[in-house]
Symmetry: C2
DNA sequence: CGGGAGATTGAGCCCCGTCAAAAACAGTGG
DNA sequence: CCACTGTTTTTGACGGGGCTCAATCTCCCG
């Protein structure tokens, strides 16, 4: 399938010699972008598509710590080695930004790292203190906002991905979807798209 | 009570004009260091004691996103406003580091922010995919490591704080403590201290 | 039409939350 | 040192939300 997303503005385009932008790489759905233990050779910016970043427990349990969509930057690491896996959720274009020396472009990437930290802390609240309905509601609103606040939007990821992001099982995710649909809060035009009919009701669920 | 902790090395001591270190402030147990919505006027470094950083849901549910102990830096924010509460868990000394302009000392604080991000992502795995015993085991090992890896160490925080950090209830935390004690994995010399008797067993529980 | 992966739905169970009571602890004053 | 009080922790009984296991359904893509 041809990936025809338009490119997002690159905040690094004016960096000068600090961050060196590379041509975008294409990854088909499911392709690994980097793996646990690999050496870090830069940070990544999503051009189009969607990326999941996750860790595994030894028994196979998976926790997706974040999805990254167009324009977002990911792949920060602390000691030169990746501690997570990153894979394309759907057909995805990723631009690699080489950091040629320690501290390169840190002025520019600090706010991006901070944003990632805020997102992670936000998600801690969801995983630590919200029930299944609240988690799914928060997820749907987050996805809608990141796609421009439209009431109809795509879900690039499978139920399994959603479950591993929300700390639930696919069955529970599916049941919550069905319940929200039945209540008229959402509509599911297809498996991978959602229409929010009652935004207000959704908000009330994730407080 | 006199706070007699020795001061930890300050990574900002050699910053020059970028970060301006202030004299340490003292906070008694329970005192608020900053609150949600307050303006940011710097970042904070723990001199001694322990700090909890948390958010609240509208119905009062609380999620502690991190505890910060001696030497650690916290209070990073993205838009000039605090989105969390920070309170002293026990009698605590905190040094405020004023950042006089955007980007100040970012070279120095980037690794600290990255470390916070790694910690948060690590904790996402715990909250999303581990059961009560695994959560408590991970917590105990983390606390032990942060106090030098001793087999006997202090718990500055209450059961309620531990519960709100691990996404559990105080009853469940207490029950897990009792079970671990009964199995001989830990000993509880007092309410606020722990001895790890079988480190290996603890590790096996949080995989 | 058939095959396979993903998604939905159902039945049963278990972990953990809730509610309640007892126990341990900390602080105060006598 | 002890008695008294309020807070924190522990322990118990019980119920429910979400997980497990399993069957069915839907959607692709040949």
């Amino acid at each position: 399938m041809a990936a025809s997303g338009k490119l997002h503005p690159n905040p690094f385009s004016g960096l000068g010699p600090d961050g060196t932008a590379q041509p975008a790489c294409f990854y088909p759905a499911g392709a690994e972008i980097y793996g646990q233990g690999e050496k870090v050779d830069g940070i990544y910016q999503v051009e189009f598509g969607c990326v999941r970043v996750y860790r595994l427990l030894s028994d196979g349990r998976r926790q997706i710590s974040a999805f990254h969509m167009g324009g977002e930057v990911f792949g920060f690491e602390v000691d030169g080695t990746h501690h997570f896996f990153a894979e394309a959720v759907s057909a995805t274009g990723v631009r690699v930004i080489k950091l040629t020396a320690v501290g390169d472009a840190s002025q520019a990437i600090l706010p991006l790292v901070l944003q990632g930290l805020v997102r992670a802390q936000e998600h801690l609240l969801v995983l630590g203190r919200q029930n299944a309905v609240e988690r799914v509601a928060a997820f749907l609103m987050d996805m809608a906002e990141r796609q421009g606040g439209l009431e109809v939007f795509d879900l690039p990821m499978s139920r399994s991905d959603i479950a591993d992001y929300l700390g639930l099982t696919i069955e529970t995710v599916s049941r919550v979807f069905s319940k929200l649909k039945q209540k008229g809060v959402i509509r599911l035009p297809s498996l991978r798209s959602v229409e929010i009919k009652k935004w207000q009701a959704l908000q009330g669920m994730s407080e």
